[in-house]
Structure formats: C-alpha cells, structure tokens
Amino acid sequence: MLDRVEAEEVLGRALAASEADAAEALLSGGALALTRFAENAIHQNVAERNVVLSIRSVIGRRSGSATTNRLDPEGIRAAARRSESAARATRDEDPPPDVAAPAARSEEGAARLATAGGVGAGSDGASWGPRERQEAVASVVSCCRRAGLTAAGFALSAEGELSDYGEHAAFAVANSRGLSAYHRRGRVMLSATAMDATSSGWVLGIARGPVGLAVDRLAETAVEKAVASRDPKPLPPGRYTVVLEPAPVASLVEFLLPGFNARAFHEGRSFLAGQLPRTIGNDAFTLLDDHAHPLHAGKPFDEEGVPRKRVVLVDRGVARALVWDRRTAAERGAEPTGHGLRLPNAEGAAPAYPVVPGGVESVEDLVRSTRRGILVTRLWYVRVVDPMRVIVTAMTRDGTFWIENGRIAHGVRNLRVNESVVEAFGRISGVGREALSASSERAVAMVVPALRIEDFQFTSEASF
C-alpha cells in the first residue's frame, strides 16, 4: 500500500509522461490477506499486494484509457502511450471529454470527517497478520467444536481499495488541472458458519481493525443459530411477516442502488421510471449515501477525484434525489455529487456508502414484538428478476427461524423469496438499530438496520 508521498510521486510521474492535451491518473488496489477455514481446519491462506495505475488521456475531443500494474518508469510510459493511442483511434465525443477541476473540500465535509476520526482513521488492518488471523480462526473453531459443530469461514485484513473479487477502486487521483486526492483505509472481516448435520448458522463482522471485531461473540452467535435451527421444520410457501437481520436487508437495498444513478434515470432504465419525487417504501424507510457516517469512514472523493456529497436518496419513503457523475451532470445542467464511476464507463454513477438510518430496537426486540413470522439471517444468490418493479429472487440460508408469540420457536427449512423490494419496503413495521453489514455475496458494505416487513413473499421451499 502506498502512502500519500509515494502515491503522489507515482501519479506525478504518470502525468509527466503524458503527451495528451489533458490527463488523469489514478492509483487503485492495496494489500489483502485472507485466512480461510472449513471442516474445522485452515485450508486456504493467502496474501496479495497489487497497486494498479490507470491513465486516461484526452486528445482533442477524444479520450482513451490504459491500466497497468507496472509502476516502473518504462511501465508508466508504456501505459501513457497506450492510453494516447486508444484516444487517437476512437471517435470524437460530445460533449468533449475533460478532467475534473480541483475543488477544496467543503468545511462541512472536513468537519464531518474530523468527527469520524479523519480519513482512514483507525485503519490497522495491516496489523492482523497470519499468526493473529490463525488465532482468531482457532477461537471460532474451538467454539464450534465445543458445541459439536463444524466451522467454516474466513478472516480477512485489507489495506487500500482492494475488494474481495479483485476490483480496485481508486485510493489516489491526480490530473493535469492540479487535482490531487488521497485516501487510506484499512478493514478487517471475520465470517463464520457453524454447521450441524441438519442446520447452520452464519455471522459476518466488519471493523476497521481487529480491536473492533468481537471474535468470540461472533462465534457464539453462529453456534447459537446452528443449534437453534437443528431439525428444521417444513413451512409452506406463502406471505409471512419477516424479521430480516441487517445482512439480508443489505442484500435487498443493494438492488435499489442502481436506480438512483442519474444516467440510468434519464435513460429510462431506473425503477423510478422518470419520476422524482416518488414514493418508495413507507415512512420508516430512509436511504442516504454518506461516506462520512462513522461506521463507513469512507473515501471522500469519487473515481475522478470529485468530492463526495452526502445525498438523501429517499426521505421517509419518498425518493428525492439521484447521484450524479460529472459528465451526466454537465449534460443535464445539474451539480455532480461525487459518485462517478471510473472513466471510461457506460454507466455513470453509483451510490457507494449506503446508509439506512435505524431505530433503537435490537433484533431480539423486533422478534419479541412479532406475533408470528420468520427470522432470516442471510439471503443468498439474490438476483433481480424484474428491474422496474425490483422483483428479486433469493434463498434464505444459515439460520431461518419460526417466530411464535415473540419467541424463536424452531428452525424452518430454507425458502425461496420472490418479492419486489420497493413494494416490501412499503410494508416495514419495525426498524432495528443500524449496524455495519454487507450483502452476503459481494460484501458491499452498508449501514443498515434489521427490519420487520409484513406479507413478505416466499414461493417455494428447499428440502433442507
């Protein structure tokens, strides 16, 4: 992971190598290490360091881009040349491409980051080395073994902007107009699945450093879920009251996010169907994009270095705003919000730090106030069936329970969901405390609460 001085030096060399009319250079990537376990043993244990340079060249009314992980002078020069030759070979763009102007961080933004502990504050992911991760895993395995269960999961430490599937986001951006931005962060994650012959329980913890991960409590939770859902009973498909823990809520919210991309909205591809304001959910549902939320402490600029704004996307059930990349904003006479994706791209912008404000109740409180319903720990293989109604399908997994008179009565077999996220959020009847969680496949981190939703649709059941 490069520090600010090192990053500025590499970006400076990239811009100096450019022969274009304007150029933008970004660095992405970082370092990631992951200890994976299954069947009570560590079976995969890996480490990676990768920093990637992207150069976008603007020549006349054209632009092209090249990416390399060769940061030596020859590698940088070669990338600059490839980027320029791509620009020359393509076609004129309208409006003509350019690079972002430098902008001072707003006082509000700086103050909020100071409250959050500053950019990348507390990032000590690098201190969770192989030995420390092994010890954390050993605690989880030990807890599972004591309960007669088998453990699987992972312990991850990462620095920079390197995601689980190897996508890189920028941690440093500079351009030929003098823009310069840098952000450093670390994170750790621990996930565990405790398994029995007929049941399983899953947890995911995310923190800025190992001190923030309550490893023993996470392990105990996975064990409790697996034990409580042993010998699950069948449940007929139908509509039920559900209590969704934060992770399945994140899985559903993830499918609303593309609809708030201004480019998609104006192309007619958003579920908002060209209408703002528009009712989305009931007044229990608010959705923001806020990188400075203390649980996010995220990057305060987008992939062009444009400062991120806090955007209230949905205010008490009414969708009110979009996120704008610089180009779409210029075309439509709007202000960019600092949510632009890496150029070049066909998509525009995306919310990056979703927040659904919560209440004061715990998941247990929500269960206690539920007469009959289903508690869902995790949704799996969530995919959109209908993008305009945001109908998604998914399976429940790793801890699905029947609630009777405010208590967990027994486990139930897993169920297939087919439900419109928009319509479901119009039936929210309970909101828990917000927590940092993630959709369980791609680990898109979000600050979301548990939710109780009425009449949630399940259309078939699994045999387990």
Binding site: A47, A138, A152, Y165, A273, R416
Partner: protein
C-alpha cells in the same frame, strides 16, 4: 522469468516448504464499448505478477506480488511458508497430493486473427454499425455493444520439476437492446446476454456471428416484448434454447460436481453440494436423454487449456452418462477422496494473485437428435424460452429459479404468441429427470460464460458450456410473478 521463478522455489524450500510452485502470469486486455451512438469505453489493461504456493508442515500457504524482482520473489516465497506454518497450527490432517508426472511443455490457443493486431477503428466501426442498425427500430431506448479481448501468458514451475508455458487467447462480442415504456423494461441480447459470446479464438470469432444483420430483429423483439402478454404461471412443458441451457448446466451440474465444495471448502460462501460422494455411480441425476461431460480439450472453449494451474494435463471425462451421475471435477488434493489415483486437472486461478481452486472447464451437454423446429412441432402445449435474464440457486445446488428474456407459447406444434418475463424453477434432479428430448449436433453451440464467482477472496472464472435445445416436461413456470 524462469530463473526468477526458480529462485522463488529455492527460497521456499530453504524456508521449509516440502512442495512449492510458482505461477507467473501476464494478462493483456482490451475492452471497447459503444452505447447509443457514443463510444462508451476504450481501455487497454496490462497486468502481471506472480504467485507462490507452498506446502509446509502439511498445510498450504500462498503469497503473491506484482513486483517482479528477485528480492520480492524471495520475500513472497518466505511469506508463503510463514502463512503455511500458520495454517498448520489449525489443520486436521496433512495435505496429500496425488502424483503427477512433471511436464516440460508449451501450449497455445490456436487462432487465425490476432485481435490485438486488428485496428481499434475497425472494431469501433463494427460496434457503431450494430448500434445504428438497432436504433433504427422505433421504440428502442438503449443499445449497448461491447467487445472484449484477453491474452494470458503464464509460466508454471514446481519443485517437482514441471515447467509449463501457456498462452491463452480469448475473444468476446455481444450487444443488448433495451426498450422501456410505461414502467416496463425489456431487453434482447445477441448472441447471448451478459456480455455476449466468448470463446478461446482470435478475432475470427467476431465474424462468425451475423451481428449487424440480426440487430433489427433483436431490437424489434425488445420493443415487441413491451406489448407481449405476461408469461402464464403453472406446470408447463418447456423448451430451453441452447444458451439458457448452458447456464442451467453451469449452475445445476457444473457447480455441484466441484469436489472441493462437495468436501466443504466453500461452506461459508458458495455452499456445498447435494452430489455427495456416496451417490457417485449410483444416483439418477437425469433422464436417459441426459449425458454431460467435462473437458478442457473442447476446441474454442473458454475452459480450454493445455494444463491446469497444478501442471496437470487437460482431459475429458464423463460426468453424467445416460442420466447416471459418474464424475467430479477434481484436483491433486481431492482426487483420493473419491478413490481416483490422479487429478482431472481442473485447478484454475483467475490470476497470479489468487490460489488455484477447482473450477469448471467446459461442462457440456451431449447433443441428441433432431432440430429445434422438429422439437417444437413435436410439442403439443408448451413454452419455448430463450436467452438468460436472471438466475438463482440454493447453496446445495438444488432449488433454482431462472428467467429468460423472451418466450413463445407453443400450441399444437407451433409458436403462437410472444411472452414476456418468462421464469421457471424446480429442483435439480427432478428437473433433469423431466428432460425427454435433446436436439442434435447441428443445434449444439459452445457458449462461454465469463463471470463465474467462487472462492474467498473471490475469483471469476471463464467456463464453457456446449448445449443444444432441450425439452422438459411439467416444469413450474411463473412463480416469480405469481401474486
């Protein structure tokens, strides 16, 4: 590259590794996109690095780096051993590897036209031709076309004496037309959805598909779907086109036969499998019309290579024979779990910075007989579904649901009306046992999927699936839209 890799091996040995291998991988990519009459994407990527995998004290360790220096190679090798030692503190039993003859060889994807030598202007011009042809159709909202090319050069050396160099070239092309009206959105894609068609071929792949000629038909269908009737719900006979069937094979056969996930390696993430080892050789996976093979030898497959990332040669073998479950995808570590003396060579890493894990290569449904037209004529009452739009399956690979872009109702052997939003679902073995006809070789297409996710940290594999259209009786249709 070779001496640098040998130094890494030596460092790993001196740090205590009993086995080590090094993969050095260089990848060049080019991606071009045109959307609604504008160039949306022109990017070239070059990436290189190396990964060192070691066995020490009976456990695996892996480290990697993008810095190709001798000092870094030694550091990475030592780190891999340190990681293995940490793994060994929590190991149930020492890892044992099935033997493989160490091979010294080279292998390259055969191709005619190097896509990296084709002028960018020519590629952009073709995408613009498609774009213009599609946007002439009234009612079209968005047209998006993309080309993608990837060349991987990799070198593999091991402490057992293997030294293999491979060069794999892959091309891809596709476009999607979106039509939106009154809160409804419909898409038609060609030659396939989610990026199009991908094969290990040169630029000649692009010329194999009538991309411009089909654009008007594809766009017209997207618009027509807005006015089409909603696909009905209920138990129906369905015919799936070869591209949808390719994904069905991928999700419901290719994944559950990955032996590492059968043995629990993916339990926290991708899940396990209903195809447990006790079922091998005795479980009726499908009807007698269903035979499926795995092969790293299929010409043009995105899962085709000379050697896997453990140095095991490419092979071809049966997975399902006339409906009977007969085979798994295996590795040197897992082969013994099913009593096989050697790996089938399916260990693949998506780049230098990832540990190889068992992945599909090309998992193909054997063709049967007859044409699609003949199969439709033979169907009294059914629905023909084409081109995947959505997919979802549970973590044991049993309960699934798929959606396609378009359907046609079949009555008395004829297509009678277009249907929108078709979805179908079921349970894997019941579904495949309901297959009563598979079309013949003339209808068989080898499709390439490029975004198969597995592993932690996540890896994307490119997998090939050949299939011809097939019919399935009394399948649950339309649950996603039932209210």
């Amino acid at each position: 590259m070779r001496s640098f890799a040998l130094e890494a091996l030596e460092e790993a040995r001196s740090a205590g590794a009993d086995y080590a291998d090094v993969r050095f991988v260089e990848t060049a990519r080019e991606e071009i996109g045109v959307k609604n009459g504008r160039v949306a994407l022109v990017t070239r990527t070059d990436d290189r690095g190396f990964g060192v995998r070691v066995l020490a004290r009976g456990a695996w360790g892996f480290s990697s780096s993008a810095i190709p220096s001798r000092d870094e190679a030694r550091r990475v090798a030592r780190e891999a051993v340190e990681i293995a030692h940490a793994s060994a503190r929590l190991a149930e039993r020492p890892v044992a590897l099935a033997p493989v003859e160490p091979i010294v060889a080279t292998w390259r994807t055969p191709f005619r036209l190097d896509p990296f030598e084709v002028p960018l202007e020519e590629k952009i011009d073709l995408l613009f031709s498609i774009d213009e042809a599609a946007r002439r159709v009234m009612g079209v909202t968005v047209v998006q076309g993309e080309m993608s090319f990837r060349r991987i050069r990799k070198a593999f050396v091991s402490t057992e004496g293997a030294a293999i160099e491979q060069e794999i070239l892959r091309s891809g092309i596709g476009y999607a037309v979106t039509a939106v009206r009154a809160g409804d959105l419909q898409v038609r894609s060609y030659p396939n959805s989610f990026g199009g068609q991908f094969q290990t071929k040169g630029y000649e792949l692009i010329g194999e598909w009538p991309l411009v000629a089909e654009a008007e038909r594809v766009a017209s269908e997207a618009v027509a779907l807005l006015s089409a009737e909603q696909c009905p719900s209920g138990a129906r006979d369905i015919i799936l086109d070869s591209s949808q069937l390719a994904l069905q094979v991928h999700e419901s056969c290719g994944h559950p036969i990955e032996l590492d996930r059968v043995l629990g390696a993916e339990a926290n993430y991708a899940g396990k499998s209903f195809l447990t080892p006790d079922l091998l050789g005795s479980f009726r996976y499908g009807s007698p019309a269903v035979s499926i093979e795995a092969s790293a030898l299929t010409p043009g497959g995105v899962g085709t290579y000379g050697f896997d990332d453990e140095g095991v040669p490419a092979q071809r073998w049966e997975i399902v024979r006339d409906g009977l479950f007969t085979g798994y995808l295996t590795s040197r570590e897992t082969a013994a779990a099913i009593g096989e003396p050697a790996s089938r060579g399916t260990m693949r890493a998506d780049s230098w910075n990832r540990l190889p894990i068992i992945r599909m290569n090309n998992v193909n449904l054997r063709p049967g007989a007859g044409t699609l037209d003949e199969l439709i004529r033979d169907t009294e009452d059914g629905i023909y579904m084409e081109t995947n739009r959505s997919w979802s399956i549970d973590q044991l690979r049993l309960n699934f649901q798929f959606g396609t872009e378009i359907g046609w109702e079949i009555k008395k052997g004829k297509r009678v009306r277009m249907l929108k939003n078709p979805t179908y679902g079921g349970t894997t073995p019941e579904f495949w046992r309901a297959c009563d006809a598979v079309c013949g070789a003339d209808e068989w297409v080898l499709w390439g999927l490029t975004s198969c996710g597995k592993g932690q940290p996540g890896q994307l594999a490119e997998t090939g699936h050949g299939a011809a259209p097939a019919r399935f009786r009394k399948i649950a249709v339309g649950a996603a839209y039932a209210r």
